[in-house]
Amino acid sequence: GAGVSQSPSNKVTEKGKDVELRCDPISGHTALYWYRQRLGQGLEFLIYFQGNSAPDKSGLPSDRFSAERTGESVSTLTIQRTQQEDSAVYLCASSPTGYRNQPQHFGDGTRLSIL
């Protein structure tokens, strides 16, 4: 497809379980971003990948959160031992290079609900 693809669209899980969220960026986009959007709030930056450089993890809220990216393709965001405050929509975005704040193209997000 032409856009950023995220899966699953919705995820419901029990507190304490681990979850993996997936993001397929637009082909050729070297920059990839994860954001979290809590109900009624704006987006919070989580992590940024640019090519083979070390990721910017400065937005990850705790060590339960981690993310990986294989080359310039798929990324997975993992949340271990989920807590109720992790309930949110997790949005992924990609941009051609990440340089000079080129516009970020967003996926539809994964709505995560922790019971």
Binding site: A31, Y33, G40, L43, Q50, D56, Q104
Partner: protein, 114 residues
């Protein structure tokens, strides 16, 4: 740290009328970018308009235009000839030149009345 403030949680406008959404930001940087994103119920964030801080001319995209007041750190979005499809959450965002992450405001929910 940079912050973005949208002081209007909700706004409404009649179809075909004009509405202005407010955004202010706080930064000590001189090189930065500002964006307005639209988020319909489908959740996808759609770029509406982009402004480089070094440009004095206000950006325009068809019915959408901004009023960028750099000294006042204000970046409002004007939607002319509002359409039903404009109904959505609108987010103002700030990006520092040379940095990649965006800082978002809390959003303004726009309702368009027929």
């Amino acid at each position: 740290a940079q912050t973005v403030t949208q002081s209007q949680p909700e706004m409404s406008v009649q179809e075909a009328e004009t509405v202005t959404l407010s955004c202010t930001y706080d930064t000590s940087e001189s090189d930065y970018y500002l964006f307005w994103y639209k988020q319909p119920p489908s959740r996808q964030m759609i770029l509406v308009i982009r402004q480089e801080a070094y440009k004095q001319q206000n950006a325009t995209e068809n019915r959408f235009s901004v009023n960028f007041q750099k000294a006042a750190k204000s970046f409002s979005l004007k939607i002319s000839d509002s359409q039903l499809g404009d109904a959505a959450m609108y987010f103002c965002a700030y990006g520092r030149g040379g940095s990649e992450k965006l800082v978002f405001g809390k959003g303004t929910k726009l309702t368009v009345n027929p």
